[in-house]
Amino acid sequence: MNQAAYKKIFSRPESLKDNPTHYCPGCGHSIAHRLVAECLDELGMRCRTIGVPPVGCAVLAYNYFNFDMVEAPHGRALAVATGIKRVHPDKLVLTYQGDGDLAAIGTAETIHAANRGEKITTIFINNAIYGMTGGQMAPTTTIGLEATTTPGGRDPDRDGRPIDISRMLAVAEGAVYIERCALTSVKGIRRAKKAIGKAFRAQLDRLGFSLIELLSPCPTNWKLSPKASWQWVNEEMVKTYPLGVIKDTTGYEDKK
């Protein structure tokens, strides 16, 4: 190929390290990582960002993200991030958490960070299951989904109903921007990137707490092929977790 006549229009963002990931084929994590990295590159914030990974499949996110990161105990990422932001109020502080980290063990820390209006952005990866530990029920597991701890599928009487933490957080005045996107289509990925960029902007403008929930495929624990798992998100998961803006008091105009 005559490369002189061609321009590279898509490649790995600088905020993402050139390391192969341990994520399963078709997993949403790597896409989410890339979108976060692209947004940070576009904002020029890579060297002024500090991130907190979860305990979950993305526990090794510091091997992939090319900025400062500190591990947190399971669920405590938003408390850790709060401490960081107090020391460095001028830096972009983000947490990257799964459904167990954010909405099970970390529920109190999540709610109170949002309630205090911490100028922190949370990237919430919702794959409706516990990935790293091998497929147990998550608070976000949908009715009927068979997890290893819900024999026969999640039953509302026995196991409770899936939690919609994003809508719960919207009640907090300190939360200024919450949107739910899906990583399982071209349109979804493009929308997710816009949402993440807007959330970072809300933080940098010191408006308050922002959270982007990303419906993410987990082919391994859903026991579906990558393509089928993407379809499951688009056709089934969105019935429990409809996409769209859940709260927006930023006042920013959406560029279509």
């Binding site: 190929m1 229009i9 490649s11 890339r34």
Partner: protein, 74 residues
């Protein structure tokens, strides 16, 4: 050809999502496995502008591994 796609063979995990999304069906699974045992994806170069790669980059957009680079003619 307006666009060209370069796939990092050893980075590809054979999820084949790019295959599903390419509007011109220019991607196919390689029968030969890569070192990790996945079936990586091959890009079909077709010079015809009406059938060849447009550089839309949807494959790269959906690739979870950032294993795809996309070039577009100037």
């Amino acid at each position: 050809m307006v666009g060209e796609v370069v796939i990092e063979r050893e980075r590809c995990k054979g999820c084949h999502l790019c295959l599903a999304f390419c509007p011109r069906h220019l991607l196919e699974a390689d029968a030969r496995l890569n070192q990790k045992g996945y079936q990586p994806v091959l890009f079909l170069q077709i010079e015809d502008e009406d059938r060849g790669c447009t550089g839309c980059a949807m494959c790269a957009l959906v690739c979870p591994e950032v294993a795809i680079e996309v070039y577009r003619a100037q």
